[in-house]
Amino acid sequence: MPLLEVNNLRTSFRTDDGIVKAVDGVTFSVERGKTLGIVGESGCGKSVTCLTIMGLNNRRNSTSSGEALFNGENLLEMSPRRLRDLRGNDVAMIFQDPMTSLNPVHSIGKQLVEAVMLHRDVTKRDARLRALELLKAVGIPRAERRVDDYPHQFSGGMRQRVMIAMALINEPDLLIADEPTTALDVTTQAQILKLMTTLQDEFDTAIIMITHDLGVVAEIADDVVVMYAGKVAEEGAVDEIFTRPHHPYTWGLLGSLPRIDADVERLVQIQGQPPSLLKPPTGCRFHPRCPYVMGVCRTDVPALLPVSHQPTHLQACHLDEETKDHEAAKLLEGTLAEVG
């Protein structure tokens, strides 16, 4: 049984302009100790998917359906009390912006101790020792002295380390990281990613890594979900997605990667804008931007189906498999040619 199994997850928000279906039937699963990358453009629903799993959407203006089975328990229908027990203990989350994710008026020690005391029946002293241990594990220099410092006394990278320490302090089975490196500079990004993978091995934690950076996915993910406009475009093992991508959107994403070895005037880009989720396009949501668009794409929503040679590789596109193999090979060849 997978650690987390998400089936047909839907979340919509009521806004003044109407109902926004931010997540519209998303299915994926995460195995124990593995890393799943969720990629897509801004606003494609990747963050909302994870906030829904955590039960952190504002209940006043959002509704969710489907299921998110964590060790067989549906997170979406769980009592608030049980959900609180799981949050921070079995499932933890790291957010995008470390500058605003820590409470400015409490010392980081206090915030770490709070995370321990919420789930463990220990004394404050022991909780503090545990906090120190984690601060050292995430590489905060002179942790004993810095534990009583306040968030504003830390740099962005250090704060994200503190967030990671806070998320891992109760050794969760699943860590959801919502673009944990986006707000950091490039050298810090690499350090944080390395830290996450090291700690993943140490604690045997599964990770869901939300990102729009395919480089990050290639680096650390075992499986990939490509999302577009609230739906899954393609999902499968990382090697499959990178070597035999079967969706024009994935081709676009891979084609628009900057390469250090190719001398090009301009980066290739996917034409057009992501659609408004207030009024998504009919049929395949990618059709207004798709260079391979056919009549059927405008009317019929493509189902998420396995490709013939690999049952775990799913894709949602009307194109015939021959064309897709052909195009994928061409894309890959182009990449290889550039490398060669």
Binding site: L56, R87, N89, F95, T100, P104, V105, A115, L118
Partner: protein, 321 residues
């Protein structure tokens, strides 16, 4: 820290000079003849001349100001009233406790009223309590304290006979018929309420907005993601942050409230600074006006300093240098 205090004190002196000079200038720009008023009706021109000499009103303004500063620094005296030759120090120190009781008691009332209402309306937007709170805010902002005072005095004091309508009872020195803490509080009840309503209305709005804004902060989401129960999220993460600005504004408003006390004191005939200053303006009694201005300025300066120091204690991001 010490450096900060010294800098603040130097600024206080500048502020003090500015405020007193402005008071003098305004007083002498107003067309008036304080010497004639002080000499009384039926005084001859010679009498008025003598009075003017005695009160040093015949000297140039800058000399009068110099004399005032000299007296204040040298003898710690605010001078004597033009009108009744009373020591201004006495007048101020008799009136100040009344105003202090009104302002601080009123501040307690408005905080006690606005903090719970503000928080509840923020946590349950569009609920009954939120709507009721908004009605209260509208009334509190729109109605003048004098009108509120008269309405309270009429219904609560006169119709229901629950509280005295006017007057003040001394807290420490009971006279024969009234005095002591109970009588004091009984007499102050209506003034406190009247005084508190305007500020309570402002504060409900402020606290509601602050709490709602803080609820959307990332660190509140982090606290929920840690598995903290909602009560703890609100208490430990939302309230502390959303009440920080209230402390700053409270410090400024208590200074401001000294001015607002004029209306409440007039309605309820409380012998405080506000009523005294009003009387002195009518009589062109410069030393008393100046004395009260000096006293109020010092109070406001001290108060803002206390608030700044307090702020550094409760908000770790602020370190005074």
């Amino acid at each position: 820290m010490l450096q900060y205090l010294i800098r603040r004190l130097l600024w206080a002196i500048v502020l003090f000079v500015a405020v007193t000079v402005v008071t003098y200038v305004i007083f002498y720009v107003t067309p008036s003849d304080p010497a004639r008023l002080a000499a009384g009706q039926g005084a001859t021109a010679a009498d008025v001349q003598r009075v003017a000499e005695r009160l040093h009103l015949d000297e140039p303004v800058w000399q009068q100001y110099g004399r005032f500063v000299w007296q204040l620094v040298g003898e710690r005296s605010l001078g004597t009233s033009f009108v009744n030759r009373q020591d201004v120090n006495d007048i101020v120190f008799r009136a100040a406790p009344v105003t202090a009781a009104l302002v601080f008691g009123g501040a307690l009332f408005w905080l006690a009223l606005s903090i719970p209402v503000g928080i509840m309306s923020a946590l349950r937007p569009r609920s009954l309590i939120d709507r009721a709170g908004m009605v209260f805010v509208l009334v509190g902002l729109s109605a003048h304290p004098v009108w509120i005072g008269l309405i309270f005095a009429y219904f609560i004091g006169y119709k229901l006979q629950l509280t005295p309508i006017t007057g003040y009872a001394d807290f420490f020195n009971p006279s024969q018929e009234h005095g002591g803490p109970v009588q004091w509080a009984h007499h102050m009840l209506l003034p406190w309420l009247t005084f508190a309503i305007l500020f309570a209305a402002l504060y409900v709005r402020l606290i509601r907005a602050n709490v709602m804004e803080t609820m959307n902060e990332d660190y509140v989401r982090t606290a929920r993601a840690k598995g903290a129960p909602e009560r703890q999220v609100i208490r430990s993460h939302v309230l502390r942050n959303s009440l920080l600005p209230v402390v700053t504004i409270l410090g400024m408003d208590i200074g401001l409230a000294l001015g607002g006390a004029i209306f409440t004191e007039s309605v309820y005939s409380l012998p405080g600074l506000g009523r005294q200053v009003l009387q002195s303006y009518e009589n062109f009694d410069l030393p008393v006006i100046q004395g009260i201005v000096v006293f109020a300025t010092c109070c406001i300066i001290v108060f803002n300093l206390v608030v700044d120091l307090l702020y550094a204690v409760i908000d770790p991001r602020i370190r005074l240098t």
